[in-house]
Chain length 340, copies 2
Amino acid sequence: MRVADIGEFGLIERLAGIVAAERSDVLVGVGDDAAVLADHEGDLLLATVDSHLEYIHFLPYLLSPAQLGRRALVVNLSDIAAMGGQPRFALVSLRLPADQQVEWVEEFYRGMRAEADRAGVAIVGGNITRSPAGVGVDITVLGRVRREHLLLRSGARVGDMLLVTGDVGAAFAGLQLAFKPRLPVPAALREELISRYIAPEPRLAEAAIIAHSGQASAMLDVSDGLSSDIGHLCERSGVGVQVQAAQLPIAAATQQVAEALGVPAWRLALAGGDDYGLCFTAPPAAVAALREEIGRETGTSITAVGEIRPAEQGRHVLLPDGQVVPLAASGWQHFGTADA
Amino acid sequence: MRVADIGEFGLIERLAGIVAAERSDVLVGVGDDAAVLADHEGDLLLATVDSHLEYIHFLPYLLSPAQLGRRALVVNLSDIAAMGGQPRFALVSLRLPADQQVEWVEEFYRGMRAEADRAGVAIVGGNITRSPAGVGVDITVLGRVRREHLLLRSGARVGDMLLVTGDVGAAFAGLQLAFKPRLPVPAALREELISRYIAPEPRLAEAAIIAHSGQASAMLDVSDGLSSDIGHLCERSGVGVQVQAAQLPIAAATQQVAEALGVPAWRLALAGGDDYGLCFTAPPAAVAALREEIGRETGTSITAVGEIRPAEQGRHVLLPDGQVVPLAASGWQHFGTADA
């Protein structure tokens, strides 16, 4: 059986069985945005790692080295944010072709350093080695969270609202534009959307408010694709969901790209990852206060896009025309398996 | 300027300047076997990451998947040991070609898991992604050390003895045999030495005794190459050294390989890395008690192979014939730069 036959998530599920160990100091191992480790009295340790490989996770002609350094760090900061935590330390493992320019590497590090400083993160070590094929970087980020602020994927309850921060689908629309330079979209919009793909913001401040409120029940970041990520949350929480396509907060620019591509905007938004916004659940009564505080403190909107239902009702999307269709896991998967 | 022009260590030095930050919670950043983080009251957090890439760090035809999984973890456990710490958690970032067999990946994980269990380590997460070229794995290991047991590369003092655990050069001799199958060496020795390369032992128990003794002044593990690693220790400690080639503990099998290769055994031992033994410094008066305790508790020998001298006396090797030559950094460097 080839890896491509079962896909990234199928493989992870098998391997999780091999590594699973009952240990009182491992609160969450494989399966959430980050591992949660009770390595000490008091605060919990969070640990996450993500890869950025040339032509798989990024297009080298699209990102400057500084932008790449920043983005490779942001995707990990976002995982720590999604647990309700604060990032503290980063380790950088870099794989470089022997003929890579040193100036390129230094710019990459400067971009990473600038973002690390913004997030209060110290880059404390790593590894550098020769690469047989293109640039690759793995960043491990360690963070801290107070036990009472920890937000897992597994806490969603029936009756909770499903919410997202900011708008959805913009980064994915930007990626489509990067692949299809001749798509008829005005240059200003093109630039705006591509920059959403290149330079996502880690939602650290928003996540802190959500976690400190004590109101949210589950959270993760939108990285694989919104429908896929909602699926992860439902899977881990043992719940169903009805997403309302008409409620998805989609920027006008993203809608123009969907139109130019000839697909409904909601479909593009549900398929799209790379936004690194937050997706979370909270009881209906908590939404207004959260919206007010997050808006006031960060300027970021939050939008209810669906409702958590009992597992036996399944995972569905209510389309704008009233049809109800299954929530396809239409996000990005490595190894190119068919959507689940 | 290309990366190959300045080499791995030249590049790390430049990048260390970009990431260096004055933070009271970062006791040691770039430059030792692991980062040392005061993330809490009490114990210190240790964090390290290392890469294993096909055809760069390992030969896929030489190691079974389980052996590879074990070895990829051991090189990181060894870094935690070299700080005087205990490993606790591991994150695994795996890059796989789409046509990799799932059974291969599962065997890889089983090998890793067996070693993790032996070392008391929980595998708590990671990342899996498609690789454009061969298998690659990065493992991050987190550990703990009590502040009073921490052993850095930087603590060696003039007059200290330079010591190593076990014998040196065997893994490197094994690697030579793997590359040169026609070298006239008996089959049993060949197998023994190749297995020293394939399946190094992390010296966790020995490191714990050395750290708990309170007698050692500096420590690191032998990974890049013994002379190169001794150079790192001297550099970070601001000291010189005289290594006595005749004192190097070289197994009879390693000596046979050196003979077959037509090089002096001490040269092979000094050039060789991959042993993952410990190299440490301690005052002469402490050596006998350390030797006795380590021998009794672990069965491992320790050997004094040189003496720490003032920096202005430089770094030298006293050869068996009485000649004194500079300690060349003859270990392995990525990017293939000339030896420093």
